[in-house]
């Protein structure tokens, strides 16, 4: 990839980032996520012991869920909004290829998500500090895979939004996310469906994006250190899957007729 191409992608990404952080819904979600993280303080007071773990659980779950919501709803509207507003056409009239626009949009939202997760993680660490607990930097070992999962959601949302309307794209992405989070059920499907062909179950299991891979929240909340190799494999999985979906999305976007 030439440096000119990278510069154009970076320009689209920077523009997308600026646009995303100007969205009111982004701030609403961020504020709500912060409130959720802070609510851990209250929940912890209602429990017998395990205050620190409850704050970590609530905080990590908030990062997971709100990151997912932002990735999903911003992801499906990124390209479609440009088409609806017809702001895409003057852009494509410039020396900007469709794939550069597409990848720039992805990178811009990825940056937005990373910023959002960084803010939520800082909120969680501050909450822990405020309760007298040690702000455990090992939490980042759970946060990093969550970001990878969010990137996969953005890639899927972008892909579906190039094929259909934002609503259908959101539903399709959400279905895949839920199915991917239930990947263990898919893998063990033959215990309840013994007649299902093993090859089919296996094929579905490997084809679905396995969002379970990105979930280290529980282990980290218990203070367990995640081996670097495990994180590396998950990163590679995300790179492969995100790459495949982005490639598919670029192909679909290239072929899409824009009126």
């Amino acid at each position: 990839m030439g440096s000119g191409r990278l510069t154009r992608i970076a320009a689209v990404a920077a523009n997308t980032f600026r646009e995303s952080v100007r969205e009111r819904v982004f701030y609403n979600l961020l504020v709500f996520a912060m409130l959720m993280i802070l609510s851990g303080l209250l929940l912890a007071r209602l429990s017998i012991r395990q205050h620190e773990k409850i704050i970590k659980d609530v905080g990590l779950a908030s990062i997971d869920v709100f990151g997912l919501v932002i990735a999903l709803f911003m992801g499906v509207s990124l390209v479609s909004k440009e088409i609806e507003r017809r702001s895409l056409f003057p852009l494509l009239a410039k020396p900007l290829r469709r794939e550069e626009f597409y990848l720039g949009k992805f990178a811009g939202l990825a940056l937005t998500l990373a910023t959002n997760v960084a803010a939520m993680t800082a909120g969680l660490l501050l909450t822990l500090w405020a309760t007298g607990a040690t702000p455990d930097l090992r939490l980042l070992q759970a946060v990093f895979p969550l970001v990878l999962g969010h990137l996969l959601v953005v890639a899927l949302a972008l892909f579906f939004s190039t094929l259909s309307s934002p609503t259908i794209a959101a539903v399709a992405t959400l279905c895949l996310v839920v199915a991917g989070r239930l990947s263990d059920v898919v893998r063990n499907a033959r215990t309840v469906l013994p007649d299902a062909p093993a090859w089919l179950v296996e094929a579905v299991y490997y084809a679905l994006p396995n969002f379970r891979n990105f979930d280290f929240k529980d282990r980290v909340a218990y203070g367990e250190a995640i081996p670097a190799a495990a994180l590396a494999w998950v990163t590679l999985y995300a790179a492969v899957y995100v790459g495949a979906v982005l490639a598919g999305g670029v192909l679909a976007f290239r072929r899409r007729e824009l009126h």
């Binding site: 929940l43 017998i48 012991r49 659980d57 609530v58 969002f211």
Partner: protein
């Protein structure tokens, strides 16, 4: 139009008085509604994939609140939802040690302090031991509860010995395992176990429970001492006293005996046996 504009304010002004009526009809200190829509941890797991740990926290909080409200406002009442709530909690997070340890206390303690189902409490700890085989605290509690509530000294001794062999376990667990086996259900062994639990307690609730159990053992010792005084009275006078108050003029007691809650000890003139008063918080059914 003017009425329509005023209507929201008028209706809102009515809310506090209606709420007061609702509160009055429910009772000021009514416990939470006894409703559990999902009874299976496996079902709840499938509801929010990836958020099991958070759900476990929510169910644990619900367990604690349920226990507290039943204990404080409903007088115990058997705690019918306690078992399912704890089951869901540990199904969602099999590593939540505190749910096994406190859950076993809530389930095993005699009513009204607990559900009075020690078999369920021991089964919960067995589940915890299966989920965390290297956790010596859970295995220690399993041994303690098997001894204290099920009075199965051989099994308790075996479990305590297993706990003693785990990494991090204190050395005294092995001697305690021997004592449990050799001395069976004697009170001194029970006292030693509760003293250990009190020393290990990480928070006031657990410490308070161990203190209460030690107070029960103290009261049982005092009842035995009073039974001895009754026998001494009978030896001196040739008859049993009609009441414990008779021991005071006889010079055997300085005042009528009461426990730490100022509840008089119960006395059966037919057998001469003194026991903890039925109205005392220290009373435990045999």
């Amino acid at each position: 139009m003017r009425v329509l504009r005023a209507l929201p304010l008028l209706l809102l002004a009515l809310v506090p008085s209606v709420q007061r009526r609702v509160d009055a009809s429910r009772g000021a200190f009514s416990g939470g509604d006894d409703t559990l829509y999902l009874w299976s941890g496996a079902q709840v797991r499938r509801l929010a994939p990836g958020l099991e740990s958070l759900l476990a926290d929510v169910y644990w909080l619900r367990t604690v609140q349920y226990y507290g409200s039943q204990h404080a406002f409903e007088g115990g009442g058997g705690y019918p939802l306690l078992g399912p709530l704890i089951d869901i909690t540990v199904s969602l997070d099999p590593r939540m040690e505190i749910a096994y340890r406190y859950g076993a206390i809530f389930l095993s303690e005699h009513a009204p302090q607990g559900a009075g189902r020690p078999e369920d409490g021991v089964a919960l700890l067995e589940r915890g031991v299966a989920a965390q085989p290297d956790n010596w605290r859970l295995r220690q509690d399993l041994g303690f509860y098997t001894f204290l509530f099920l009075h199965d000294a051989p099994k308790a001794s075996r479990v305590l010995d297993e706990a003693a062999r785990l990494p991090g376990a204190p050395a005294w667990l092995r001697t305690l395992a021997g004592d449990v086996l050799l001395r069976g259900g004697d009170r001194a062994t029970a006292r030693r176990i509760w003293e250990e639990l009190q020393a290990q307690a990480l928070d006031p609730a657990m410490r308070g429970n161990a203190w209460a159990q030690l107070a029960v053992l103290d009261a049982l010792d005092e009842a035995d001492r009073l039974t001895g005084l009754v026998q001494e009275f009978a030896r001196r006078t040739g008859r049993r006293p009609a009441s414990l108050e008779e021991l005071v003029p006889a010079g055997l007691l300085s005042r009528p005996p009461v426990d730490i809650y100022k509840v008089p000890f119960a006395y059966d003139p037919g057998t001469g046996e003194v026991t903890i008063g039925r109205d005392s918080p220290l009373h435990r059914p045999r």
